[in-house]
């Protein structure tokens, strides 16, 4: 059975392995033991703290695949939430802007595209650092891991911002080079994209952001390859991007400052996972007597004991959610306790606006 739960110190080796296998490597998930250990400790602290408004917290979760009745299993995925994208620093993005250069004298009007360094997204909540064992890609496990975070956010609104964002890994070419980095960042910090990314993960992204160009960049002066990368996701993340769009995210004007990957944004309350979820009391039934129904994410009401798993969205006539004893045990809920439920499949999978 697949369960999403907060990361614990014992998950460290698994996290290290997942971080090392991420394609492409994620800045927010460095394959670095000390940093990951800190990450887990920070997540535990965040969960243990009394929080009235979002700040420097990070919440890290793992996806555990427990075979049969075993109480634990393999850690096959991880995902995090930054309560505020910038935390105690600033979150740097490039904002795509259009300037009108018009001349009455010449009777011409030109639109000039620029990228302006922005801290505007510093205080939004950021979904980040998701990576999953290759075998589970694009299965329901993937949805579970990605969307379980919304089930957490839905329960603790005071811990998060009203706006939620997600930064998709940016486009890399066949040689694993970022055309945007080669044309822009490299002039200012002469390291390969991979080196820079590793550094940013281990140290801090804002160290590097601070040496990046502070004035707006005129797009016409960038290479065509760099321009084509702006707002373009990594080829391995096309499906993930489509899923986020289906969730209710929209492409924003912002892109990552290093690889120009798209940053998606949404009002928290309008995300389907949050808007469509509801509370149901639990009714425990033998597994073989559970009726067939669409899959749903089911989360308990605990903070540090947060659990989220997949179950059939089968309700009794009085609106109780029917769970097997095993599911109830995994969620650590007894009969009558309320759980939060949202359909797994997104009903309204419309296309995102560009």
């Amino acid at each position: 059975m697949l369960v999403v739960r907060p990361a614990q110190p014992g998950d460290l080796p698994a996290l290290e392995r997942l971080a090392g296998n991420a394609m492409p490597r994620l800045t927010n998930l460095p394959a670095h033991r000390d940093r990951l250990e800190e990450r887990i400790a920070r997540s535990s602290r965040s969960l243990a703290s009394q929080i009235d408004y979002p700040g420097d917290e990070i919440y890290s979760f793992v996806l555990e695949d427990c075979p049969g009745n075993a109480s634990s299993g393999d850690i096959v995925g991880t995902a995090s939430i930054r309560a505020q994208a910038g935390g105690s620093e600033a979150y740097y993005t490039y904002r795509q802007e259009t300037l009108i250069h018009a001349s009455q004298q010449l009777d011409v009007r030109r639109e000039v595209q620029v990228l302006s360094l922005s801290h505007e997204l510093s205080e939004v909540t950021l979904l980040c650092a998701l990576t999953l064992d290759e075998r589970y890609k694009d299965t329901s496990a993937h949805y579970l891991l990605r969307r379980a975070r919304l089930m957490f956010i839905a329960q603790y609104p005071e811990r998060f911002a009203d706006t939620v964002a997600v930064a998709m890994p940016g486009y890399l070419d066949a040689d694993n080079l970022s055309p945007f980095w080669e044309s822009v960042g490299r002039h200012f910090f002469d390291r390969s994209f991979q080196e820079m990314n590793a550094f940013a993960g281990v140290r801090s992204k804002s160290f590097i952001a601070e040496v990046m160009p502070q004035f707006p960049l005129y797009l016409p002066l960038l290479t065509p390859e760099a321009r084509a990368s702006i707002g373009r996701e990594h080829p391995l993340h096309e499906t993930a991007l489509a899923d986020f769009i289906a969730e209710g995210f929209r492409r924003s004007r912002h892109v990552d400052i290093f690889d120009a990957g798209p940053i998606l944004k949404a009002e928290r309350a309008k995300l389907h996972g949050i808007a469509q979820c509801g509370w149901h009391p639990v009714r425990i039934r033998p597994e073989q007597s559970l009726p067939d129904a669409e899959l749903a994410l089911v989360a308990n009401q605990r903070l540090d004991g947060f659990r989220c798993l997949l179950a059939r969205y089968a309700l009794t006539p009085t609106g109780q959610l029917m769970l097997s004893p095993e599911q109830a045990e995994r969620l650590d809920v007894e009969e009558g306790r309320a759980v939060l439920v949202t359909p797994l499949k997104l009903l309204d999978a419309d296309e995102g606006e560009l």
């Binding site: 004298q105 200012f188 910090f189 040496v211 160009p213």
Partner: protein, 348 residues
Amino acid sequence: MRIRPIVHADIEDLLQIARETGVGFTSLPDNREFLEAKLAHTRATFERHSHGAAPSAADEPELYFFVLEDDSPEGANRIAGCCAIEARVGLDTPFYNYRVGRMSHSSVQLGLHRTIDTLFLSSDHTGDAEVCSLYLRPEYRRDRNGVLLSKSRWLFMASFRALFPERVLAEMRGVFDEQHQSPFWECLGRHFFPMDFRDADRLTGLGQKSFIGELMPKFPIYTPFLSEAARACIGQVHEHTRPALAMLKKEGLRWEGYIDIFDGGPTVESYLDDVLAVRDSRTVTIDIAEGLPSEERTSWLAATFKAPDDFRAAWVGRAPTGDILMVTPEEARRLGAVSGEPLRILSA
């Protein structure tokens, strides 16, 4: 050969010169209407100060335009070239430059320290004097006529110092390739101006510069984003401009990091009082005598300066003796000077 203020009757010669100068010579466009206006402007300037060097109103754009006249018998007062001084640039239309600045990008944590050349749009020179519009017809490129044209302006400014501000500059023509293209323009200006260099340059020459402010990128330009060819143009001059640049450098003008926004050519500048020719020129009294010997290679410039409009400058055949400069009657005529009159002279 002598330098004198231009007069209305010189218009046809000026037009001819404008035709000869070609692209890149921004201040002399081949346009009669424009040149007539320019002539009217410079005549008004000279006449405003015709009763001596009354201090100028600091907010008036003033133009002192001179011609080099061939006063030899066979020359028939032909115009051999021209030069000009704009007393204060940027007062009526904006005067734009890029300043090549340095931005430090440094981080202890990253072990990084580098400086990035960055182009900042500037109007820093607003109110400064500019020496400009120097042109010498090919057939007159001999007998140190170029030096006469160039240095006469320093004599003028030294003579009427109160008419000019503290600083002076000269814009030098930038680099063009074999196809007469400016790599700097092709890489930068072309993206923002829907025209080719020639048209942009022509409009600028006509004083119609508002389009620059309207279409130019306002934010600084990081030079690493420019092509190598464009970067190589920054602060570099057209090969034909090298002698002119060398001459200005000898006077003490220096490149302080300002370049032309279109072709990347350097703007050289100095405090006017520090210009060698201004500092080293001095006044003497003229004495006229027949049959004086002349140096083989002329090395003394002299100018009369009763009033700006009476300004005449020419080579004279010999060095002064103390505070007296002996000149021949022909030289005196050329300078429009009578015995006992003060002259400003310069060894050049």
